[in-house]
Subunit: 458 residues, 2 copies
């Protein structure tokens, strides 16, 4: 059989670095989300581009699926082996290869996590800003075009990956982009691979853009009477040109989950959490101007601080939001939604979603990145009640439809994976077919992460 | 014959809006650069997406080349009809369709020029920042992934186009992107079409990102003893986190050309021209901090101003740089080069290029976008002396090779077109084949702007 032959050849290539144990397969057959387990036939742990190339060649010859694996933090089941095959786990390709402080860029292997990179960068005064919350791998973040709390200021992976090394489905290795800050030299292959979810090739190296750690940071939080006033305050801040480094919101249900989880005493109302980067003067000035704006919109007094421990507490609360919400219904699993709309539609999208959730039997606190128009409802389901999952999926589907109706997208940052393919036709029309045609051009055998992102082949 | 049949059908579709006069063909067979004239067989002036779709269908059926045309300001011969065919001139699709101030975005047809758009936006307090110098059309700017003086702060077309409507080679019409600020919903088709130079489809509508006109602007100029000190000052400014809205440099030869053209009295030395955007306080503070940095690097006193007429004079001088340099050798034509390197390599790249130019018989003043590492030598050739063109092309080729050796790109912003295909193999390796494979997937007949960007088909 093809798979057995592939495994034999992969064992020759990788020796003990081909995992075949039940535990290994099971660990790489799970997702963070509600999808059923789908373990692969083998887990490869390459240590070099040449080994990844060898894996691709073997799998192409035997027509066995190849699925990339970073830190396993995807929320849309990107790493699940829908048709079996070989998961390529990049955890042993985790070196920071070259920090070039003068050019403010860095070259890394795909298994480096964002926290590990920032740890390595600390002495340089530089940092990598994309922050999806989870300590994801940079390869995985590239493949889902991840973003997060700082995207409003520093952009997403789209803006912070300058170039890639990619092993294609047939084993060719290409370099995309360059170390120049911009280029008009042909198709933007870097951008094509970013967000391609492993369906076009495996990333083996990344050149990332770095930013200077700001001299000063201020951050704070305040409560609003309703979503509309919170969004209006954000819009006004953007239009005044006050540069926010982060601007997050949490609804009343999320605030209550924070209180229960972290012992805070937040009002049961929508909140904004904001951060400013700059010189000590400008970061303080920005916070003061923001305080005036939110006061005009009926907010509670904006409490802000330039002290690191207070900022850390604020963002650690935000980053634990998912776990705080999970803990609010013991034993629950989460269906995490992820829509993004134009800012002018954000208050409406949140309010309609809240009403829809309230009418269902399912708790669904909301939090998100208000500066980008991106938010998540964390739908809490009882894993013992199949009707909960049905209802949560229906709520999520209505959210996606709502996002598209309002000019937005069915996934702001989590990607398509298993969970959003059902909305690709509505979102892209014939553009989805074009994606399928591009996929076919680069992966004619359909071995790269099959069952994800593109239209199913007949 | 196929072309005659296509013309007959296009006349039925467009009536008098199909140009066949010698003058019309000649006007659409020229470039701004040194390439020989290559007139098309016909010039179509569509007024709607449906008409563009009709043009594509007719040309696909008859296998006749289709070449998009914006304002004709390309420097790499993008619009030349290498194999004849139909030029699609978008000058009649020049409406600003929808300004959405609350979302800071706008929908336009491709024939709108950047100056016309900014004129329309004036009352909103918003502007579109990408500024390649020429008053190019926004469709053309999208197709070359244009950038310019403000890219260091606001990004290039890559960063400021949110979505496109594209007519494909077979007449299908797709919408890419959305009005959401970000998305992880599949392949980034917007980015794939940006910079594709009309080889994958024709853009019929664009959604663009807008920015708030800054409350205050300061700008100024100073001279440096050498390139190294100028670049070191820029690097330090970037690393200090001082946000520059523009940072341009001009070498000694360019300064002398400015003096002759505009009656200025600049020193025969490298200069930096810089602009800061912000509040009145921050824009003044940024200029003051910059003044201190450049003084440390041996610059002449940094003269800056917040007065609009002085700023206008400065940037109008910069924007006329090309014409000032052309005028310095009466009767000359220009071969404009366009390399981009990592900032750490910029001084070296400029100095090696200056030495190379000095050793040739050809004048070649240099100016560029120092914040991005992108610069242009304007090589002035006598059109009567074929050996000048040969020498200029050899100089340009050595610049491209130098850029690649230093980790950069052979074209920072002008695109591939006719002029840079020779360097695509060296720049992209097998990645260039991948571009060819993508092209073949979307344009199997090879009718979209043939002879540009991708590898020649056998």
């Amino acid at each position: 059989m093809a798979t057995e032959q592939a495994i034999r050849l992969l064992q020759e290539l990788l020796g003990p670095r081909l995992g075949l144990s039940k535990a290994d397969l099971a660990a790489h057959g799970k997702s963070e989300s509600y999808f059923p387990d789908m373990p692969p036939d083998a887990v490869a742990y390459p240590e070099s581009t040449a080994e990844v190339q060898g894996i691709a060649r073997i799998c192409a010859a035997e027509r066995v699926p190849v699925i990339g694996w970073g830190a396993g933090t995807s929320l849309e089941g990107h790493g699940l082996a829908v048709q079996g095959g070989v998961v390529v786990d990049f955890s042993r390709m985790n070196r920071v290869l070259d920090i070039r402080a003068a050019d403010m860029d860095v070259e890394v292997e795909p298994g480096v996590t964002r926290e590990a990179l920032n740890e390595d960068l600390r002495a340089t005064g530089l940092f990598f800003p994309v922050d999806p919350g989870a300590n994801a791998s940079l390869g995985g973040m590239a493949m889902t075009r991840a973003s997060g709390t700082t995207t409003v200021r520093y952009g997403s992976m789209r803006d912070n990956v300058m170039g890639l090394e990619v092993v294609l489905a047939d084993g060719r290795v290409i370099q995309t982009g360059s170390r120049a800050r911009k280029s008009a030299a042909g198709y933007d292959l870097t951008a094509l691979f970013l967000g391609s979810e492993g369906t076009l090739g495996l990333v083996t190296r990344l050149t990332l853009r770095l930013h200077g750690i700001p001299e000063a940071t201020t951050a704070g939080i305040c409560a609003f009477p309703d979503m509309n006033s919170a969004v209006a305050a954000v819009t006004e801040t953007i239009q005044m040109g006050i540069p926010m480094a982060r601007i997050e919101f949490a609804d009343a249900a999320t605030a209550q989950a924070f209180n229960a989880y972290a012992g805070t005493d937040m009002a049961a109302a929508p909140h904004l959490m904001v951060e400013f980067h700059g010189s000590p003067e400008s970061a303080a000035q920005d916070a003061e101007r923001f305080a005036e704006i939110v006061a005009d919109h009926g907010a509670s007094p904006f409490r802000w601080s330039a002290r690191e421990e207070e900022r850390r507490a604020l963002w650690s609360m935000r980053h634990n939001g998912y776990y705080a919400i999970l803990a609010s219904r013991p034993g629950a699993r989460a269906v995490v939604t992820d829509i993004c709309v134009p800012i002018s539609q954000l208050a409406r999208a949140v309010e309609e979603t809240q009403a829809d959730i309230a009418a269902s039997g399912i708790p669904g606190p909301i939090l998100g990145h208000v500066g980008d128009g991106n938010f998540h409802a964390i739908l809490l389901i009882d894993p013992e009640r199949p009707e909960d999952l049905t209802e949560a999926k229906a709520l999520s589907a209505r959210m996606s439809e709502r996002a598209l109706r309002l000019g937005g997208t069915s996934t702001g940052e989590h990607g398509v994976g298993m969970g959003k393919t059902a909305f690709m036709r509505a979102e892209h029309g014939e553009g989805w077919d074009v994606m399928g045609e591009l996929k076919k051009a680069l992966d004619p055998l359909g071995i790269m992460n099959p069952g994800k992102l593109v239209p199913p082949t007949q």
